[in-house]
Symmetry: C2
Subunit: 214 residues, 2 copies
């Protein structure tokens, strides 16, 4: 029953899913407009808000359902590259990262595991998609594994055909530059069934379900 | 933050939300067609299935999110009426009722509380909607309260203006008879904002959010 899932992947009309340059000041590389309709408060459930339960929020709330581990790229964890500087960096999220599970961070520069009181832990691994996925599945306790991004990591897992479910939110904006999500994935739709709905916010939610995997 | 919510209320094109006569053989009174697109496996999360995650299933999965107690009408609990017969009836659901929380059952004929190992308990109360809602809120531990149906109970709570959120699924079938959901609710839309989406299954999901309650 263990699936590998991607949630809340925001993609512009021209196919960008992040900005070009991630910095400390711009965690998503100047592509903040991609996330203008996102409501991170509901990733662990619609009951976390008093605001109206919209279709968008219902879709966002799938993020945390039955997830036992996450895999993310290094760039989602921080703006640094190369050897880790001795700067105490523990990710963008402060003392309470929202993951609540083990998180495996792909990097060529492993470092010591970080553990947080809320159940989140960051494990730094230099591994292929297949290998880190096995690590994450072992850690997930029978629950699903989320591929958390960024877009380059999602693309890599899609190219390796390791994704069972992908929730894309198409945002009707034109970014003009950034990290492209659909490169090297021509014909991806042949491996998936896709259902789309559009909501009153202007978002189009696409649910990609991998066909015919046991 | 505590809300009173209704989920997965299936309504036919002609406004019926259950069949006429509930019997042991027909728990929903011959209106089974209403539930033809329903997938009860996902009420505690989309990860409970290996089948594709459709928009319908994503919407159904809101049912269990952050719920601390349910209120249901007697007819949802069983087909009996009047004094409870000494027949050992403990509901339709066997040893593992799917609720996992306290459930308050409205009846003029109170009986002893039933408790199950999975966290479900059935409490039988003869009370007004306002009073049973207070009981349920006290039992919910800061989480939300679900009004579980049947349709007469939902209608009663809507008439009393006690519902904050209502998820209706309009099913494109014509039942011709049954329990009507919209009677005595003319102008209900004035108290709510409503968002609708239609999915590839033919269902239309409506999310009704109460306007302007603190």
């Amino acid at each position: 029953m263990v699936q590998t899932r991607v949630h809340n992947l925001f993609v512009s009309s021209d196919g960008y899913a992040a900005g070009d340059h991630v910095t400390l000041e711009e965690p998503i590389g100047g592509a903040g407009a991609l996330f203008g309709k996102f409501d991170g408060r509901v990733i662990h459930g619609i009951h976390r808000i008093k605001d109206p339960v919209t279709v968008d929020r219902a879709m966002f709330s799938m993020w945390g359902q039955g997830i036992g581990a996450e895999i993310m790229g290094r760039r989602k964890f921080g703006p640094q590259s190369g050897e880790w500087p001795d700067d105490g960096w523990e990710g963008w999220w402060g003392d309470e990262p929202p993951f609540l599970t083990p998180v495996f961070i792909l990097t060529h520069f492993p470092r010591k595991t970080l553990e947080f009181a809320n159940g989140t832990s960051f494990h730094f691994v230099d591994a292929s998609p297949e290998k880190v996925l096995r690590l994450a599945q072992d850690a997930a306790g029978g629950l699903d594994v989320r591929i958390g991004g960024g877009p380059s990591t999602v693309s890599e897992f899609l190219q390796a055909d390791l994704i069972d479910f992908l929730h894309v939110a198409i945002v009707p904006i034109v970014l003009g530059s950034g990290v492209r999500i659909w490169d090297h994935l021509a014909g991806l739709e042949d491996r998936f069934s896709v259902e789309s709905i559009s909501t009153s916010s202007g978002l189009t939610h696409q649910l990609w379900n991998r066909i015919g995997r046991d």
